[in-house]
């Protein structure tokens, strides 16, 4: 099996961009990063399934070599559907976050800051 180098490089670039965006604080940017990453993985699965050009289904007489791997395509379909559902959910969350806080940023955990600042508060002399 030969791998398609162009596609693999595209996968790499998409993952890099996705990771960069996921490291942002804004929910929408994180989501865009997640979508890029997701598409990169889908592309990777397709690449793994073999070369392009053939249909996944033929009549019963067709040889295996005339068919693309249907399993990879089925997996990508499932993954796309799942990613789409979760994306919709995150969009709803982002909308809700904006309604409540009027920003799109994810703040730090307040309880964490509270625990971290406790020593300062209770023992101000040091």
């Amino acid at each position: 099996m030969t791998a398609n180098l162009t596609l693999l490089i595209i996968v790499g670039v998409l993952v890099a961009c996705g990771v960069y965006l996921i490291l942002e604080r804004s929910v929408t940017k994180m989501l865009l990063g997640m979508i890029l990453f997701g598409n990169a993985v889908n592309l990777l699965i397709l690449t793994v399934g073999g070369p392009a050009g053939n249909p996944p289904l033929r009549n019963a007489e067709a040889a295996d070599t005339d068919m693309a791997d249907p399993l990879a395509q089925a997996m990508v379909l499932t993954a796309i559907v799942i990613t789409m559902g979760l994306t919709a959910f995150v969009l709803a969350l982002a909308y809700r976050a904006r309604m409540l806080t009027t920003t799109d940023d994810v703040p730090d955990d307040p309880e964490d800051a509270d625990v971290a600042g406790r020593r300062e508060r209770e023992d101000p002399e040091d």
Partner: protein, 534 residues
């Protein structure tokens, strides 16, 4: 063979099917909360019964594979019931049933009208189906689908009501979980590229022929994905951040089950991929760090829910310890410890829900005098707390002894370091629960720094409540009988793990023996003629 096999083939899909059907029914009856509760309870009781039957059959007959729809192995979807998955199924279904009773008790007391129960119950059932799918999956992609089902449901449960705090925690949780799923998907793609199959049994056959470096790369990617879900130390920071914001029953289920699903996936792939020895060292080191960092984090907390979330992370380390030893005794200890930890951690979170009602707070800065106010609550907290710390008669002690023995039998210096680390963690856990006991239960409330404050009314699914003076609160939050009963039941089930320790450890050891010999799993799924699948 034929008739018995028929029974199992009939039973195996039920832990997934029943909750999904019940979820559909409860969705239809969204406006009738009582009926919803009833359907949920019936469905989950049926699941517990089915899982108990599965465990009996699996322990008697060994590993059995069921080809769904009659399609043969590499093409069809395979469900595999072995002792490990049956134990996990039974324990998780018991926990899910008890917590749903607890949730019902809460709703009956507070009224369902203002609560989003029409969404809560169906989602809870879908979560059940997802957990069952994961444990039954005989296929890497099916495992992924199971993860996605339970994660999707958990997203909704965590953000139910969508208050500002929950949305904040929810966004972080959703992002981390989605990322781990995508990494899992990368692992699936790599495994498929190497072997051309995703059926776990066939994968185990073929991956042995792959070059060692490739095999390790695939396993490493999968380990990162499962490590995030299981909250192993460097990947665990999302957990104490997100779990405590959810409603009490939801946090209890998440704490008990979701991380263990990740641990289960690690055990399963570890057994079938037989990775490089270096990974065992990695697991041991990660286990040690998880134990220590988790428990030190717990000491600093003042919110009991966060404190327990940190102990949850910490005790995942014990399971890694057992897996990393890669011996039969180690795996057996890990399996028993998983079962013990699911029960005890869920029980503790349920008790925290009761504390919240009784005292109007879960902060150690506010609580006090609970042992006097409600001795029953004190007892309900003390038993699982001592259990978690590993005090002798309880299951925590038995599980830890099993792990320590396995570590001593291994004899390597790293194993001894972990034995020491496990003992230290156990003592520190005891210190943490003693801290909670002395502050929340023993000292008078007047001595607590903010003891004069409490929540105006008990939080249910939606937490919309303000602080009032302790003396002024409208509902002193007497604990609803059904909630207490559910918590007591779970504490008793945890106690049964002590009383029946012999048989259960026996099952765990036999499960470990199966895991130690992947040939059993492979021939159960593929049959004896395995050359055709290579």
């Amino acid at each position: 063979m034929s008739s018995e096999f028929g029974v199992l083939a009939f039973l195996a899909p039920l832990p997934v099917l029943i909750p999904l059907l019940a979820a559909a029914i409860t969705l239809i009856f969204g406006r009738r909360p009582r009926l919803q509760s009833l359907v949920t309870l019936i469905a989950l009781t049926a699941v517990v019964a089915v899982c108990a039957a599965l465990l009996y059959l699996a322990d008697r007959d060994g590993t059995t594979a069921v080809q769904v729809g009659g399609w043969d192995t590499p093409i069809g979807i395979t469900l595999v019931v072995d002792r490990l998955s049956a134990v996990m199924l039974l324990v998780s279904s018991i926990v899910l049933l008890v917590v749903s009773v607890y949730g019902a008790g809460q709703n009956i007391r507070d009224g369902d009208e203002r609560q989003p129960t029409s969404i809560y119950r169906p989602t809870y059932l879908v979560l059940t189906a997802g957990v069952s799918t994961t444990f039954l999956a005989g296929d890497l992609f099916n495992l992924f689908v199971g993860f996605e089902i339970l994660l999707g449901a958990s997203f909704v449960l965590l953000t139910v009501g969508a208050t500002a705090e929950r949305v904040r925690a929810g966004v972080a949780y959703v992002m981390v979980s989605m990322l781990s799923s995508l990494i899992f998907l990368v692992g699936i793609a790599l495994a498929y590229a190497v072997t051309g199959t995703l059926n776990l049994a066939q994968l185990a056959l073929r991956i042995g022929e792959a070059p060692e470096g490739v095999r390790n790369a695939v396993y490493a990617v999968l380990l990162v994905a499962f490590g995030i879900k299981a909250a192993i130390f460097p990947l665990s920071n999302w957990l104490p951040d997100s779990y405590p914001t959810a409603p009490a029953p939801v946090t209890a289920v998440f704490a008990g089950l979701l991380t263990k699903v990740g641990v289960y996936a690690i055990i399963r792939t570890h057994a079938l991929f037989f990775p490089d020895q270096g990974f065992d060292t990695l697991l041991l080191v990660a286990g040690l760090l998880t134990m220590l960092v988790g428990i030190f984090g717990a000491i600093a907390q003042s919110d009991i829910r966060r404190l327990l979330s940190f102990t949850l992370v910490s005790h995942i380390g014990y399971m890694l310890f057992g897996i990393g030893l890669a011996s039969e005794a180690g795996l057996g200890g890990a399996v028993y410890y998983v079962a013990h930890h699911i029960l005890v951690q869920t029980a503790l979170f349920l008790v925290v829900g009761l504390i919240e009602r009784q005292a109007g707070s879960v902060s150690l800065r506010r609580l006090g005098g609970l042992a006097g106010a409600s001795p029953l609550l004190g007892l309900l907290f003390l038993i699982p707390a001592l259990n978690l710390g590993g005090i002798p008669p309880f299951s925590g002690f038995i599980g830890k002894v099993a792990l320590l023995q396995a570590g001593a039998a291994d004899g390597g210096w790293l194993a001894w370091v972990l034995v020491a680390g496990a003992v230290v963690t156990s003592l520190l856990t005891l210190y943490v629960v003693a801290l909670v006991w002395s502050k929340a239960f023993w000292r008078p409330r007047s001595e607590a720094p903010e003891g004069h404050l409490a929540m105006a009314r008990p939080a249910n699914l939606v937490e919309e409540t303000t602080d009032v003076l302790y003396d002024e609160r409208t509902d002193p939050g007497r604990m609803p009988a059904l909630m207490v009963a559910a918590t007591t039941a779970l504490v008793l089930v945890g106690f049964a793990l002590t009383v029946l320790a012999g048989p259960i450890l026996g099952i765990a050891d036999r499960a470990a023996a199966e895991l130690d010999n992947p040939g059993v799993y492979v021939s159960a799924v593929l049959g004896d003629d395995q050359e055709a699948y290579r």
